[in-house]
């Protein structure tokens, strides 16, 4: 399965988790209190976020605290390029469309 930053933010619960731990390091239990879902579901999301290298864990006594991997978040800085590519792709399809739109006229000449 894909494990990158975009996979990490693809899910609304994971985005919410990112939002929460961006403010402060939190334990899975503390995080789970903010959601309707089970503690297990939160753990699963945390595992995916960890696999995407978007969060880091830190053991403090018996508790594991999760915090945001700031450096990794910076990958989102590539966003403008992603956005540009969406438009580039659209426009190249439009190029083809414009060519076909022009055809009937030129054949009728």
């Amino acid at each position: 399965m894909r494990r990158d930053i975009f996979q990490a933010i693809a899910d609304p619960t994971r985005r919410a988790i990112i939002g929460l731990i961006a403010l402060q390091a939190m334990t899975p239990n503390a995080l789970a209190e903010n959601f309707q879902t089970s503690r297990q579901a939160i753990s699963k999301h945390l595992r995916i976020l960890t696999e995407c290298k978007l969060v880091k864990q830190e053991q403090q006594g018996r508790e594991i605290y999760y915090s945001l991997e700031i450096k990794k978040m910076k990958e989102i800085d590539k966003w403008l390029e992603q956005y540009r590519k969406i438009w580039e792709n659209r426009f190249s399809k439009l190029d083809n469309l414009l060519t076909t739109m022009q055809k009937p006229k030129s054949t009728k000449k």
């Binding site: 990112i18 961006a22 966003w79 403008l80 992603q82 792709n89 426009f91 439009l94 414009l98």
Partner: protein
């Protein structure tokens, strides 16, 4: 295609606007036609491996539109809607756009699409989007909503703005 037309996207840090600029090897009337007819929009507007479907699209003065982007299985990834402020054929279209999936309403984008005639039957297209806040703007270009990636939380956007 004789030349490769570059797609230019500019989004200055700390501003509410985005410019998307592209030239086409086709006359202005034709490019305008492609942007003002649902039938054509559906053929090119969807990102890769996606389908754009209009629920309604009346691209004329005081018109309105609503379209969804679907994945290859027909699942709706996101829906956008807006009203058409002005259609001045073949020069410009001014409209609003709102991502219908957001939990909070009111994050509307004002969009001006300008079509300029260039020599040799070419056309320059400029899409000028103005968002209601810098955070909205950043979310729009960041979140890649059309690929089903959804929005990113506001404080995350502000973190990005500050460059951490």
């Amino acid at each position: 295609m004789a030349t490769k037309n570059q797609t230019i996207v500019t989004a200055e840090k700390g501003k509410q606007e985005v410019f998307i600029i592209r030239e086409f090897d086709a006359p202005r009337e034709l490019v305008f036609k492609a942007f003002s007819n649902v039938e054509f929009l559906e053929q090119f507007f969807a990102p890769q491996n996606r389908v754009t479907k209009y629920e309604y699209g009346n691209i004329h003065d005081n018109g309105s539109y609503k379209y969804s982007t679907l994945d290859e299985n027909g699942k709706i990834l996101c829906t956008f809607k807006g009203v058409i402020h002005e259609v001045a054929a073949p020069e410009r279209i001014i409209q609003t756009a709102e991502f219908a999936g957001l939990p909070i309403k009111g994050h509307v984008v004002l969009e001006k699409i300008t079509f300029e005639s260039l020599p040799n039957n070419r056309t320059k297209l400029t899409i000028h989007d103005v968002c209601m806040s810098v955070a909205d703007r950043d979310m729009m270009v960041t979140s890649d909503m059309e690929r089903g990636l959804g929005e990113i939380f506001n404080h995350l956007d502000s973190l990005l703005l500050k460059g951490f």
